[in-house]
Amino acid sequence: MTEPVTGPDARGHWGQFGGRFVPEALVAALDELDAAYRKAMADETFTAEFDRMLREYANIPSPLYHAERLSREVGVRVLLKREDLNHTGAHKIRNVLGQALLTKRLGKNRIIAETGAGQHGVASATAAAYLGLDCTVYMGAEDCRRQALNVARMKMLGAEVIPVTAGSQTLKDSINEALRDWVSSVDNTHYLLGTAAGPHPFPVLVRDLVSGIGREARAQCLDMIGRLPNAVTACVGGGSNAMGIFHAFVPEESVALYGFEAGGKGLDTGKHAARLVVGNQGVLHGARSYLMQDDDGQIIESYSISAGLDYPSVGPEHAWLKESGRATYEAVTDAEAMDAFQRLCRTEGIIPALESAHALAGALRLAPVLRERHGDDAVVMVNLSGRGDKDMETAATYFGLTEDAA
């Protein structure tokens, strides 16, 4: 039996996780955001406008799709929550539209965002253009190189992209830079944090904004097969898509929840981002959670073939779901993810984001277990959180397709 999963408390704690480890200068802005968000969520004009934007602009609800050919191959029914079909190609549009609408409500005219793979940056730039806000995106210089097309997209949408050259030049350093900017600009600027991590209220705010994924999927699943799935899988970078689909299922004890972290080149190589699997507790980017750190508490650079999972911390609610036993976290290596990626392409004609390929790889690993437990009726639901266009260069290189073309 698992412990009851509740939370967070009024100060953003799930058990020992979460909270606010931030400069005092940001506390007023976080308090303001917390109050505005609670008020907005209770205000029908806000929620109706948010719903309208999702429906009319972002192509939401996304469909739940029975991947029949893949299902036949793996011996369990695989249902894909097609967040890749959302406007801008990922679940992230839900979060950015919600937070951009909140920004206007706060009377601010500028957003800043950090981005790893570029998905959140593109989504933020999109929301800013849609709602008439100024937008600055911090992106690690290394990520800018890996995701040049997304940099061009952001600029096309009118955002300023600032390459971050400090540290490992990846997502964690972009968050540091965004926090530095925010300390200096908090009067007119909202920090549109891209995942269910960071100081309170961001983890709960982002979770709530993306929690439509799970609510829709739950209802769609009941419509489609008349019952809930046996398991739900999602990839876990910062943790927003996973919290988005998990949240509606957390009270459903019959549904097993699985989060898959980036195992990178393997847990024994140190080149991974498996914080919940092999990391330990600490404080980074405003919250207590699981981290990749050395014996001195210095943050270790994470690694994944997927820039979107390449982050040394994770949202605090995941830490709590792990600690409470409600969700299970495992690591998926680059190689397993790429196999799943290719398999989905070939069986279903769907090119997933490399992040989502981790969730799929996890589901494929689970399939025999689920079949043994639940027989022919076993159903696994995968949050296909994004589409793979942005990752084609990485995938083409990985599979040696660029040389074939030449």
Binding site: R11, G19, R20, F21, V22, P23, E24, A25, L26, V27, A28, A29, A166, G167, K172, D173, N176, L179, R180, V183, S184, S185, V186, D187, G282, V283, L284, H285, G286, L291, Q293, D295, D296, G297, Q298, I299
Partner: protein, 266 residues
């Protein structure tokens, strides 16, 4: 050794205290010890030793660079304690300014114990607010260490009250909404913030972020009990062609700032 006697002595002398910052291990552990000795000899009343950290969100370019050099040179928490031990006992209280994660990783009580044993006075914690500081408050009580939390221009009356009640030694007033780094002009928000803080506490109030020269120090000293200088001191060493020239520049700047804090109050 608390910072309290240093602030009291400055007050008796009719001036503000000069608080100087340098990361431990920058450019090397031994050279940071020598540089801090220079700061003490040239007029600092209190020293802040920075604990180099991989993700220093409150710091601007100069301090980030210095911390990265210190980390690359292998400076970790134990070396920071070595620096504290080497410069303590020279009549000037030594604080450590640190992000929170390395302290938790070391063990909050274990760090407090070892730091107190090394002769340290207390901690300044830029990303730890009193709301999350129960473990540190207990450890600092147990080992009789100063606790310096920050107040900011955005702090409400309630938060200032909460923060100063948790402080011991002095209160760090962050004079601007921003990160560390020398600036051309000091903050217009600082006097108001100090006034609001003074209404809530009898503790001395130090003002930091942005001070780079004697004139600015003099200006801040007219309303604050302590003038905190970091990036400008770090830059002396960053910009110098060699170690000797760096220490010379650091000594000159410290002397100029010390003259400034005396002039400001006079």
């Amino acid at each position: 050794m608390s910072v309290t006697p240093a602030f009291e002595a400055a007050k008796r002398a009719g001036r503000a205290a000069l608080v100087g910052y340098l990361p431990a291990g920058f450019p090397t552990v031994d050279e940071s010890i020598a540089a801090i000795e220079t700061m003490i000899d040239s007029g600092c009343d209190v020293i802040e030793v920075g604990l180099p950290y991989s993700d220093p969100v409150m710091d601007g370019h100069a301090i980030q660079r210095a911390a990265a050099m210190a980390l690359a040179g292998g400076c970790r928490t134990r070396e920071v304690l070595r620096v504290v031990e080497a410069v303590a006992g020279k009549g000037v209280p030594i604080l450590v300014m640190t992000y929170w994660n390395p302290i938790e990783r070391y063990g909050v009580d274990a760090f407090a114990r070892d730091f107190a044993a090394a002769g340290g006075a207390g901690l300044i914690t830029p990303d730890l607010i009193p709301d999350e500081a129960a473990e540190w408050i207990a450890a600092s009580d147990a080992h009789d260490l100063d606790r310096v939390f920050l107040v900011a221009p955005s702090s409400t009356k309630e938060r200032i009250a909460l923060t100063v009640n948790a402080c011991r030694g002095f209160v760090y007033a962050q004079s601007i909404m921003g990160i560390t780094g020398a600036r051309d002009s000091t903050s217009s928000a600082a006097p108001g913030l100090v006034e609001r803080t003074r209404a809530a506490t009898d503790l001395p109030i130090g003002v930091g972020l942005g001070v780079r020269d004697g004139d600015q120090a003099a200006e801040v000293a007219t309303f604050a009990d302590g003038v905190i200088v970091g990036s400008a001191m770090v830059s002396c060493l960053l910009d110098a062609p060699d170690e000797k020239a760096g220490r010379k520049a650091l000594g000159s700047l410290t002397a100029e700032l010390a003259e400034g804090v005396a002039r400001g109050a006079g």
